[in-house]
Amino acid sequence: MTEQIPLSAEFAALLGPAPPWPVTAVTPALWEEAVAALAAGGLTLFGLWGERCAEGETWVRMALLDEAMGRLGVIALPLDAPRYPALSLRLPAALRLERALFDLTGILPEGLPDPRPWLDHGRWGLSHPLAPSPGAARLPAPYAFLPAEGEGVHQIPVGPVHAGIIEPGHFRFSVVGETVVRLEERLGYTHRGIEALMGARAPGEGLALAGRVSGDSVVAYQWAFVQALEAASGVAVPRPASALRALLLELERLALHLGDIGAIAQDAAFAPLPARAAVLREDVLRAAADLFGHRLLRDVIVPGGVAGGLDREGKARLADLAATLRAELARLLALYERTNSLEDRTLGTGRTVPALVRRFGAGGFIGRAAGRSFDARHLDPLYQPLGLRIPVLTGGDVDARLRLRFLEAAASLDLIARLLPDIAEGPVGAPMPQAATGEGVGLTEGFRGDVLVWLRLEEGRIARAHLRDPSWFQWPLLEAAIEGNIVADFPLCNKSFNCAYAGHDL
């Protein structure tokens, strides 16, 4: 169990119960209090990133979540020199974040237990791209994978180029026979420098980039981005616009969960489930294209509001779609439940340990399939009048993650029905100030989990933006979940996690 350390009153004020989420500059003493609370498990690390301004100011920022109280905040520590004591000495969840932080900004987490580069593979042509003056390129060097020793242990390298057309990631298995004794991931192959691209851009351009971070989380990223933008500009969004944004998010969740349900069964070579799920997913995508002009719902969300709306026919179409999907989902679940050969593959496979899930703050279906009830929608007052119902399971295996997707898809259908009356016929929005300066935080619950966006505006342009994918806290758990399983079960396990490559690598 986590031991609760009472936070000081001064500290408690750093976290807020509802958006706009506070962003506060703190003293080293308060920062240290936060790190101690994180290490003890009283707080959950929700993001960690650095900023080096051209004027010489250097910041390291950390997003904190108080799960028990449902409070969130960002604290910023000013640094005299680009170095600070590493969190990962006491908090394993921070390790990859700090390695990436160093790769991108050159701010050195002192005492970092694992100094190997994470995102920088020595192929960028420079190093520390977010530093005021980037350094020379790191020479590509062999990556020292962690050893696994013993009789009969051998390694299987998989990727980054795979036998199918999928995203690149490298997996290094140490196995004895078919049993995995250690898996180590190596990511960063799809790094496109999105945070560097955002610098000095107009908010609209930043929003377009946010929609292209990860093709499967367009709404999640764009909504989180505009939330941060609106918070930084001090703009309140009218309810019909927020309601439509929430509806888009649920449509995205439906399409992706349907895709995942099929893909998990596909990896166990059970063809009927993916065939039927693909048809249903296509129904959702076509409805999205017809009603909002884009299959993946790109660029419907605009700063201050939404560029689309739903007329009576549109609402009727979505209501029809929801009715069809509800019936079909029940049929798919029944098919899954009566296919023993499939359940034989999913039950007990790739079990996540609840303590680790909490310690890493793993969100989305990975957390909620292992008893961690956190869902970013709980924190948004928008959902409060809607009777939000977030299913939680405790199995933690592939079966639980698959079933949770069924339950979440059904909950999305409920939510869509309740959101429909609030939605206006056409575009709605609040005017955005042209030259705002400030910081803001946005948070959405995408299909994969909580997407956090922080940005700082300077006279209407983006000075720095940070987008944190839920996968940062989910990928490490995959390494733990596969231990003791057999190699041939890894694809099934990996698909049930479905962590992002593009969203993680940015």
Partner: protein, 261 residues
């Protein structure tokens, strides 16, 4: 394109695999009997084994992790499937008094229904699923390297080599279809003197049998998920048990018959 680590064996293996499987296909009567040369069942098993042996060697030869994984899994499956297959051969040979496939087709076709024949059919069908790398044992359509058996061994192949291997795999499937058809539903085979209508009828009959077999295969493959690698021994143990039961039944039937009971 060839891997840098490939030896001449890797280059030669596809031809050997194809030759072995093609030769095996020639031993099975499809629409007419007898064949102009001996179609021995044990030779057939040996030829298919030779093809698999060459492929496993090629998988090891190229030196990648997947070649090794595929070869080790394939050999594990083969080591379990072959005893079951030999028991099936034993049942058939005892019933038909020969291991010559055309002769077996003739005598089994005239012999009527037997329980041990049913066991043999079930066991052979299960072995065929395993040997041909079909669901639930292996998934020939997968792109997931870590789950592959047959595909992992041939992952490094491309071009004409891969084409030959794919062709050989298709031939193997055809061998099992026609073997099951020739032994268990041997009706419609044209016998000498071969007349044009009889040959035509034989051809139509075998096409029909293969179509039915393919439909049954599709039914099995779409109603089952692929099993865990370590469940394969259980699956093949069932085939082996069916074969053993068939032999046992046959043995008792013959004992009782000889004692006039």
């Amino acid at each position: 394109m060839l891997a840098e680590t490939a030896s001449p064996l890797f280059r030669a293996a596809p031809y050997g695999v194809f030759a072995a499987n093609a030769l095996a296909a020639l031993l099975v009567p499809t629409f007419a009997t007898p064949l102009p040369f001996g179609g021995d069942l044990i030779t057939l098993v040996g030829l298919l084994g030779l093809g698999r042996f060459l492929l496993a060697l090629a998988g090891l030869d190229v030196g990648t992790a997947f070649g090794g994984i595929g070869a080790s899994r394939e050999v594990m499956i083969a080591a379990l499937a072959e005893p079951a297959l030999l028991l099936v051969v034993f049942i058939l040979a005892s019933l038909g008094g020969s291991t010559d496939i055309p002769a077996l087709a003739a005598s089994l076709g005239a012999g009527g229904l037997r329980v041990s024949l049913g066991f043999a059919l079930l066991a052979l069908a299960m072995v065929a699923l395993a040997e041909c790398g079909r669901i639930p044992i292996d998934n020939p359509a997968t792109h997931l390297e870590l789950t592959m058996v047959h595909e992992a061994m041939v992952l490094e192949y491309g071009g004409r080599h891969l084409a030959l291997i794919e062709w050989a795999a298709a031939l193997k499937l055809l061998v099992y279809f026609t073997l099951i058809a020739a032994l268990f539903v041997p009706w419609g085979l044209a016998t000498p003197p071969w007349t044009a209508p009889a040959l035509l009828f034989g051809a139509i009959a075998v096409l029909g049998k293969i179509t039915i077999g393919a439909a049954l295969l599709a039914l099995v493959e779409t109603s089952l998920a692929k099993m865990r690698v370590f469940r394969v021994p259980d699956f093949l143990a069932v085939a082996l048990m069916l074969g053993a039961l068939g032999v046992l039944l046959l043995f008792f039937a013959q004992v009782f018959a000889s004692e006039g009971l």
